[in-house]
Subunit: 328 residues, 2 copies
C-alpha cells in the first residue's frame, strides 16, 4: 500500500509530517510518497537525521496557506502540494492522500480532482472527535457544504456509519441527528425530513441529539449540515481547550499547586489524553472516490502516524466500496 503525504501542510510542516511518516512506515510497513517542495523536504530530513532516501518524492512548487481561499487548489495554484497530491491519487499513483493543510482546499480538491464515489451528492468533512466516555464520534458534515438537503444528510449518515464500523471497529454505530431538542418534532424542515429518511435507513438511528450529549459519547455519528457542524466543532473543541488551559494555569501557579498537580498527575494525563485530538488524527473527507484524509492542522509526528494508520485501515477495509454499496 502506498500513501501520498502532503509534506507542506499544517502548522508543523514539513518536519513533524516527515517524522510521523517515517514512524508509520517503520511500524505499519506502508510505502510513503511525499509531495511538496523537494529541496525543502530533503534538506529538513537531512538536518534532522531522518533517512528518507528510499521514499518517493513528487515535487510541487506551491503551498496553499491555511487561511487561503480553498478554490486556489483548482486554478490559482495548480502546482500546490494539495493539487498535485490529489491529481496523482486520482491517476492511481497511490491508495490514499493525507494532508494537514487547508481543509477547504482538501474538500474542494477531493470533490473535483479525486472525484466522488458514484451516487454521492456532496462529500462531507468528517472530523473524528474525542469524548469523555473514553471513545470518539464522527461529526459529518463539519463545513464542506454549509447548506444541505435531507438526502445529503442521509448520505452523510450512511458514509459515517460505514467508516465508524469498518475503520473505528464500532459494531453497530449509533447515528444521531444534531438538533435543538431530542423530540422528533424539533427543528426546521431540513431536520424533520432528514429524521424520516434516517428512521427508514438501514442504520442504528437513535434520533435527535443535542450539543450537550456529545461530550458523554451518546452517539458514534452526528449528522448535520456543514454550518451547524462547523459551529459544533469549534464550540466543542474551543470550550474543552479553554477549560483545560485554565486548569493548566491553575496547576502551574505556585509551589503548592505544583505539588497538587504531581499528586494527580497520572489521572490528569489520562484525562488530557482522552480529550486529545492528536489521538484520532483528524478527519476523513467522506465520499471521495479514493481515501482523502485531513490531519489536524496542529498535527505533530504522532498525529500524522495515527492518521496514516487510520488511513491504512480505511483502504484495507475497502470503505469506499462499502459506501458505494450502501448508497445503491
Amino acid at each position: 500500500m502506498r500513501i501520498i503525504v502532503d509534506a507542506m501542510g499544517g502548522d508543523n510542516a514539513p518536519l513533524e509530517i516527515i517524522k510521523g511518516s517515517v514512524d508509520a512506515h517503520n511500524e505499519y510497513g506502508v510505502d510513503i510518497t511525499f509531495v511538496g517542495q523537494e529541496d525543502v523536504i530533503k534538506s529538513v530530513a537531512a538536518e534532522n537525521n531522518l533517512d528518507i532516501s528510499s521514499y518517493e518524492i513528487i515535487n510541487a512548487s506551491e503551498v496553499i496557506a491555511t487561511d487561503e481561499d480553498p478554490s486556489s487548489v483548482l486554478k490559482k495554484k495548480p502546482d500546490s502540494s494539495i493539487s498535485v497530491g490529489l491529481k496523482r491519487l486520482s491517476e492511481g499513483e497511490g491508495d490514499a492522500f493525507i494532508s494537514a493543510g487547508n481543509s477547504g482546499a482538501l474538500c474542494v480538491g477531493g470533490t473535483l480532482i479525486t472525484k466522488r464515489i458514484k451516487g454521492v451528492k456532496r462529500p462531507g468533512f468528517a472530523p473524528i472527535m474525542p469524548h469523555f466516555g473514553g471513545g470518539c464520534f464522527m461529526l459529518i458534515d463539519a463545513g464542506a457544504n454549509l447548506e444541505a438537503r435531507p438526502e445529503m444528510l442521509l448520505q452523510y449518515a450512511l458514509m459515517g456509519n460505514a467508516y465508524m464500523k469498518n475503520v473505528m471497529k464500532i459494531e453497530n454505530p449509533r447515528v444521531g441527528l444534531a438538533n435543538v431538542g431530542t423530540e422528533a418534532h424539533k427543528g426546521l424542515e431540513l431536520q424533520h425530513n432528514a429524521y424520516e429518511l434516517l428512521k427508514q435507513a438501514d442504520i442504528n438511528f437513535i434520533g435527535n441529539v443535542e450539543g450537550r450529549d456529545l461530550p458523554y459519547g451518546k452517539c458514534d455519528v452526528v449528522v448535520c449540515d456543514g454550518f451547524i457542524g462547523n459551529v459544533i466543532l469549534k464550540t466543542y473543541e474551543g470550550t474543552a481547550k479553554a477549560v483545560m488551559g485554565k486548569l493548566k494555569d491553575l496547576f502551574y501557579k505556585n509551589t503548592k499547586s505544583k505539588i497538587a498537580a504531581a499528586l494527580v498527575m497520572s489521572d490528569l494525563k489520562n484525562m488530557i489524553k482522552e480529550f486529545d485530538y492528536h489521538e484520532y488524527g483528524g478527519a476523513p473527507i467522506m465520499g471521495t472516490a479514493k481515501p482523502v484524509f485531513k490531519a489536524h492542522g496542529s498535527a505533530k509526528a504522532k498525529t500524522i502516524k495515527n492518521a496514516i494508520r487510520l488511513t491504512k485501515e480505511y483502504v484495507e477495509a475497502d470503505v469506499i466500496n462499502e459506501i458505494s454499496e450502501a448508497l445503491k
Copy 2:
C-alpha cells in the same frame, strides 16, 4: 418596584424560588408577587420558616412542565403560573416577570401576552453566559426563533447592546456575528446581509466570531439565528460541564487526590465560580414590552436572587425605552 415571580417554575420550585425571592426582597427592597398554586406556596414557606405573610400571591392552578409544548401557555393551560404571571404583568400589576420554567412558553407568552416593544420583529431568547476572561456575554437568539432574517439579527444586536450597556454596565459592548470563520465573506446569505447591516449600525461591531472565541470573552454580544444559538448554548454549556465533572471525579478519587484538591481549593472554587451559570441568573427575553426574565432551569435561591437583582436593574435603567429608541 414590584416583581412578579413564578413560584412553580424550574427543577427546585417552589422552595428555592421562594427562598431566593425572600433574600432579594430583604437585600434589594423590591416587592414580590408570587404566582402559582397558593396553598402549595404557603405550606412550603411555612414548613421552611419563610415568612411571606406580607407578600402578594396570585393563585394559578396549573403548571407548564419543562418539556411541555410551549404553546400550552396560550390555550391549553390559561391558568398556568406563566400565563397568569404574564397577563398580570401586561395589565400593569408588576414591573417585571421572572420564571425558571419552560423557556419556550416564556418566549411565546412573552411575545403574545406581554406583547412586543413597538418595532421589534421577534423577541429573542438571550442567555447571559460566563466566559474564562472572568466576565460574561449575551447570546441572542438562543432558540426563540429558529430562523431569522438579516433585519432580525440587527435588532438582536441593538437589543443586546442596550442590555449589556445598561444592565451589565459594559461601556462599549463588542458585538460579534456568529459564523463559520472570521473573514467577512464567510457564511451564507443571512450572514452576508446581516454583516452589512451590523457594520452600518451605531454599535461596536467587531465582525464575525467563531465558537472557539467565546470561552475567551472575545465579545460581549453574540448575534445569530435561534438554531445556531441553541446549538452554541448547549454545546458550550455541555462541554464545560463535562470537563468540570471529569475534574471533580478525578479529585474525589482517593486520599491522594483529595489532598491535591485541598491544596488548590481556593483557585478551583474561583474557576468553578467564574463558569457558574447561577452567578448570572439566566436569560432576559429581549424585545417584550415589559421585562420578562428566564432564570436557569436548575435555579437555586442564589440564582433567583441574582435574577431579581438583574431584573431590578433592567427596570431601573429603562432598557425597554433604550431599545425602543435604538430601533427608531
